[in-house]
């Protein structure tokens, strides 16, 4: 009788209750591991909250989801958002290739004492704002597309060099000694320890820099609007106070940025699978 009283209606056993309670604990307490499906559920929960707030928003400066969706259609079909996005992607791709080339050469050069002061100097240039550099860069690059490419390249390279030079500097001395006792030449040591050994960090840094470059893109494209791009498009919509279009473009920029970030993560996973064996997921 007592046992029957203890049994809650609708529950066949005590286990499911215990399981749910444990799950809630894992969701709410710090330093808990959570399986992917549950993690997706938590993410979906927060997305739903954000959508509810957006839909129910009383602020006139925040257009509703329907308006933004409609603006997205207008932008895509009538104002050539697709080609503009392509122009922006071309710009960021061009600047990224140049950034990687310049930054990797400089970062790897930091293992030679002669080049270290120069690498340090380039790294320090990250504190210069891009706005003040428009004029000298215009004189150097001649304006237009080249100006945008070089401004972006400069903005990304200074941060890339800083992070990568640090990664190279942090390689333990033992790693070099270990290769030396194996009998490897200094060139082989450079390749295995410096280049291959920091490739995962280089790709991670590139991923962060790509995100920074993407965040800078609207500002850079605003400097010279002749070649178009989403930056120019968003500034035009701003000028005419088309708020729904502005938000639609912001969402598009965010979406493409996240896609680029995801693709970079895939590249890191494919090129450096060993890195993921050492990472603990939370």
């Amino acid at each position: 009788m007592a046992e029957a009283a203890n049994k809650a209606p609708g529950r066949s056993e005590g286990q499911p209750v215990k399981g749910r309670a444990a799950l809630w604990r894992r969701v709410l307490l710090p330093n808990q591991l959570l399986e992917r499906p549950f993690l997706l559920m938590v993410t979906a929960f927060w997305l739903a909250i954000a959508l509810v707030i957006w839909t129910a928003s009383p602020w006139a400066s925040l257009p509703g989801p329907g308006e933004v969706l409609h603006a997205f259609g207008t932008l895509w079909w009538q104002q050539g958002m697709g080609p503009e996005l392509f122009a922006t992607l071309k710009l960021i791709f061009h600047a990224t290739v140049l950034t990687v080339l310049i930054s990797m050469v400089l970062s790897y050069a930091s293992i030679v004492a002669f080049w270290r002061p120069m690498v340090e100097a380039v790294s320090k240039l990250r504190f210069l704002g891009l706005t003040g550099l428009v004029f000298p860069f215009t004189l150097l690059a001649g304006g237009g597309y080249s100006l945008k490419v070089w401004l972006l390249t400069f903005g990304m390279s200074t941060f890339f060099v800083t992070a990568m030079a640090q990664a190279v500097l942090e390689i333990p001395r033992e790693q070099f000694d270990y290769m030396r006792v194996l009998g490897a030449s200094e060139l082989r040591i450079f390749w295995e320890v410096v280049v291959r050994g920091t490739l995962d960090k280089a790709l991670d840094t590139l991923r962060q820099n790509l995100a920074m470059g993407w965040a800078m893109i609207t500002m850079v494209e605003g400097i010279s609007r002749a070649e178009g791009g989403v930056g120019a498009l968003i500034l035009n919509q701003n000028k005419h106070f088309h708020l729904a279009e502005v938000y639609a473009l912001l969402i598009a920029i965010l979406g493409v940025g996240l896609l680029l970030d995801y693709l970079m993560a895939v590249v890191v996973r494919v090129v450096c699978p060993h890195v993921f064996l050492q990472r603990v997921k939370r």
Partner: protein
Amino acid sequence: MAAGDVLLSVHDVWQKLGDAQILQGLDFEVKDRVRPGVVTGQVVGLLGPSGVGKTRLLRLIAGLDQPDRGSVTGPDGVALPVGRVGFVFQSYPLLAHRTVLDNLCVAGEANGLSSSESRSKALALLDRFRLSERARYFPAQLSGGQRQRVAIAQQLVKQKTFLLMDEPFSGLDPAALEDVTKLIIEVANMDELNTVVLVTHDIRSALLISDTLLMLGRDRDDKGRVISGAHIQKIYDLVQMGLAWRPDLEMAPDFPAIERQVKQIFKVL
């Protein structure tokens, strides 16, 4: 080479690290041990407290550092160049971005072997060290013991006369310890001239495996304070004492006494 020929000579070696004198007038020789009818390499145990300069000494023998004074020479009477002495570091560094098999192949190629030669040697070593199943694994996927065996195997792809091992017994469970002990003896006995110098705190293991035991330590002043600058305080010729090359050494009636004696000396080093 004949019995008693000097394979390694460390003569009056001094070395400073910053302002601190680490090694001071270090002197010892490793000679060829000969047993009729049996290929016998040399195993030298180097005992000493933490921070006394054991790893420093290994780096000097490997040619990674140069002594401030004195000399470290090989069988030819000249300094051993970097790359001629194998060195298994305490942390077992490996190339994290390469698989176990590739790690071994890199060692072969770095020593001038062709890719195919390196690969066949690497596969044979992995088989010998019972690591064939782990050939495609990355170092991050290995246990501590497996990582250690890969690090040793890597040093053996290209046969080298000298192999230095820094704390090879640290953090091993009893089964792995026995395994590594057997492995070291096997490596030493691959060739008459092979010489393994191992640094350890593990007195028992060092006694069981070595034919020579070197005790590195610092002197003390009248008040018992440590004076900087370590040198060899005592050398045990375990062959002469009848305590080397005996599989049943642990059971020998004289073993506990010598182990106690070494422990006593170790405490005041």
